[in-house]
Symmetry: C2
Subunit: 206 residues, 2 copies
């Protein structure tokens, strides 16, 4: 008689299955939240949409808040993969800022999530509700605006653009991108060109 699989192998397979289920649920959760908000997430709806068992999903995430937080993290990871990572090949400063803008535009225009930019879609819903979900969205916003500000500083110190208040301009660029996301959802044919013109206005050579 052949020996059965080792206990370690069984555990590995279970972990793998858990990770796959988790990824399937989170992909769906982020798509739902981009359209209907984080409050639109429920174990029942995710079970119906994915064909997985509600009990299984509930075992993985335990609470609605934990599921919402996992969805925010998953959306952030996919944003970083789609926008931040591919821009890393461009040198710091103006070239990196242009690459970030170009990848952001594809992210919002395609769009990566059916409801468009995940943060815009969920922040308005959560901004008056203190708690870990709002904190997580705010953390991601700060990281993104901070990244833009660092590249603006890099551009200014390399003499590519005039000295500027990098935090102030980064806030403005983020505000314009959020408004552009809304304009794209509304079908505004000028949205992308307008965002490019505004950002290029901040990147004028010295």
């Amino acid at each position: 008689m052949e020996s059965g699989p080792h206990a370690a192998e069984i555990t590995d397979k279970r972990l793998l299955r858990g990770a796959r289920t988790r990824a399937t649920v989170l992909r769906q959760a982020v798509d739902i939240a981009s359209l209907d908000g984080l409050d639109g997430l429920s174990f029942g709806r995710l079970a119906a949409d994915t064909g997985l068992s509600k009990a299984g999903i509930q075992t993985l995430f335990r609470t609605k808040e934990a599921l919402q937080l996992a969805a925010v993290d998953h959306a952030r990871d996919r944003f970083v993969e789609a926008v931040v990572e591919p821009a890393r090949s461009a040198p710091h400063g103006v070239a990196r800022l242009r690459a970030l803008l170009d990848h952001w535009m594809v992210y919002a225009e395609t769009p990566l999530f059916p409801g468009g930019c995940f943060r815009v879609a969920t922040m308005a819903e959560c901004d008056s509700k203190p708690g870990p979900v709002r904190d997580a969205l705010f953390r991601d916003q700060r990281a993104w605006v901070g990244l833009l500000a660092r590249e603006l500083r890099s551009a200014a110190s390399a003499g590519e653009i005039a000295e500027l208040d990098a935090d102030l301009v980064a806030f403005q660029i983020d505000a314009v991108l959020c408004a552009t996301n809304t304009a794209l959802r509304l079908g505004d044919p000028e949205a992308a060109a307008r965002a490019h013109r505004i950002v290029e206005g901040f990147l004028r050579p010295l």
Copy 2:
């Protein structure tokens, strides 16, 4: 025996009662929507919150969509009363733009609605859902950005500021105000001062 009230008087009283009920419901509806979105509106919740009968509310508004549209109109009227009307005493151009900004800041900081700016609170929820509610929110955004653009044009043609692309700058100012509303909800102590600095940057004298 005294004669009863005339039929016309009865009708007047009924209309008055209907108008009062409508106003009570809409005040509550706009407050709810500013926090939980327009999808958070239901006849049952409004009845529970106002103490009015659900059937009475339903008779007045008939459908959820009609209620949502009435809430958007009511919020727009209160925005005009709070921000646009009081600025009318300032002369056109830079003075009017500063007055609009000051009243907008009170509107968002106080705030007039518990969830802050009504349009920001509801647009992210509706922007991927074509239909009359989205159209109404978009109409109000266009009216507001159009007002800012007209005053920018007036400021430029009076020589108060340099010639500029008024539509582009109006879009940017609106984007910054929307982002400022979010920052205010998140308790950012710099939010108001930053918005003032950015808008003043657009209003620099020639």
